[in-house]
């Protein structure tokens, strides 16, 4: 058996670092918070069991495909969903490009623009997406129009977050070269930074489009058009079986779009 004690044995060994009191306190606080939050929310094991055994679940099956796969019930609203998604993606992502450049350290033209755009976008992002939809519906009326505007704001928020972070990480050297050649700010950014980040921009735009299709399901719940309208109507009649059918259709559509999107994105990089 090898003697593990080294020739230098006898020197002081370092003491094992004690776990910091602060981490322990934080952990304990989190646990307390969780328990409190759980109580507030009404979490009890008995309610969970009630949910699991509720006879309402039978209302989901079978799915009435004859009702679901008709033009007026599902396909026309689906087309409206598509149109809303396209318009809002275009509007939101177009606005997002200059704003993202303005709120990125690398490409902001001056400090006030940087601060203002970053702060404003943080506030816009902090408003939950459907709040926008509800506000707009109240302001400009029910329908796909409000939905398109609401999703445009949503698209803008998502794209700006993703894109500005990409710009922050972009190679600054071509920008330096453009400035060294005497270019003004916007053309220098366009020639020095845009080529580097443009593939990411398109990839994000496709992703946002996907998100918008999914989001339009829920837009209907506030009256903003698309397939969600149908879902809301059915919900009020408790026709969950029809809702399930619609969900399955949506799932297939989103799946297809996702595959196309992934394939397109791969070609871009």
């Amino acid at each position: 058996m090898t003697d593990l004690a080294a020739p230098t044995a006898g020197a002081e060994w370092p003491t094992r670092p004690r776990p910091r009191i602060r981490s322990f306190v934080i952990f304990a606080a989190l646990v307390v918070f969780t328990i409190y939050a759980g109580r507030e929310v009404g979490f009890t094991l008995s309610t969970s069991w009630e949910i699991w055994t509720n006879p309402l679940w039978e209302k989901f099956w079978p799915v009435p495909w004859d009702w679901v796969l008709t033009r007026e019930n599902v396909f026309d609203p689906l087309i409206e969903t598509f149109q809303i998604a396209i318009v809002s993606t275009i509007i939101g992502c177009s606005l997002a490009m200059p704003i993202s450049f303005a709120m990125s350290r690398l490409t902001a033209p001056n400090r006030p623009t940087y601060y203002v755009s970053k702060s404003v976008m943080n506030v816009v992002r902090a408003v939950p997406d459907l709040f926008w939809a509800k506000l707009l519906v109240t302001a400009i009326g029910i329908g796909a129009f409000a939905g398109a505007w609401a999703l445009s704001i949503f698209s803008l928020a998502v794209m700006v977050k993703l894109f500005s972070e990409t710009i922050d990480g972009a190679d600054p050297r071509p920008l330096e070269a453009a400035q060294a050649a005497g270019g003004r700010h916007t053309p220098s950014v366009r020639m020095g930074v845009l080529p580097t980040v443009f593939p990411a921009y398109v990839a994000y735009a496709l992703y946002v489009f996907e998100l918008n299709i999914r989001a339009s399901i829920v837009l209907g719940l506030v009256g903003a058009g698309g397939v969600g309208r149908v879902v809301e109507a059915q919900r009020q009649f408790f026709r969950f079986d029809r809702i399930l059918g619609i969900l399955i259709i949506i799932f297939c559509v989103v799946f297809v779009i996702e595959q196309i999107s992934v394939a397109l994105r791969r070609r871009l990089v």
């Binding site: 969780t34 929310v41 009404g42 979490f43 409206e80 149109q83 400009i140 505007w149």
Partner: protein, 303 residues
Amino acid sequence: MANPLNEARIAAGTTLESAEWPEPPVGQRRRRIALATIVLIAVVWSVTGLDVSFDRLLSAPGDAWDIFKRMFPPDFEGEIDRGVLGKVLESVYIAWIGTLIAATISFPLAFLAANNVAPVWIRLPMRQLFNAIRAVPELIVAVILLGVTGLGPWAGALAIGLHSVGTLGKLATEAIESVDEGPTEAVQACGGRWISGMRWGVLPEVLPIVISYWLFRFEINVRVSAVLGMIGAGGVGSELVQQLNFRNFEAVGAVLIITVVVVIVIDTISASVRRRIIQGGTARDDGSREAEALADLTGIRTG
């Protein structure tokens, strides 16, 4: 086919080589034009399909601005009397519990979906399960659950919990798959069992990233739970809807501002915690974390 650039070149007079200049690639141009045309057609089709009359387009911003103006001055006192602070906190609790549920469920499942852990016949169905769950928005889940549980925050928490399993699961799977094999191999080389390999090889590396995903999801879920309130699943959404229906816009303004402030605060705290976790807890107690959080928020860097 004469390259117009070449003509210009000859006109300019200076040529160092007698060879023709290359032409811009035609194929690429055609593809770009085709793509732009498709996008244009899609946009036109969409806009016309949405039945947007021109005067509606013009009046919309005006209407929106009108409502916006009427939100000032915001009626903070009235709203606080009506308990809006409690409702906002309720949204936070709902988001917290929901995210926690999702984290607990999704993390072990993610191992089953990782290609360096589970065999194909387990992981493919697992991944599709995550995708399917992701595809169903929380709002729909909440709608269904409300039919079962009745109104209340628990439906909201469950809806968030269930939906987030999909997203968190997918992200956790990707994190597990991208882990360095070194430590796991080392455990195996010492004769450790598979579970030890996971515990000591994979877990330490994956946990910081996954926790930061949980926190990021929590940030999003706070917004989601505010929205779920709109259909009665607890939280501040119901207050917003009610005040909007009464056209009590000063109250709406107050609700919005309070919600936004709370969301921003949570975002900021969560972002600095996430940053700290990713960086491995380097001790910088000089207040620079607060400064970084503030910088993240407003873009203003002090010092």
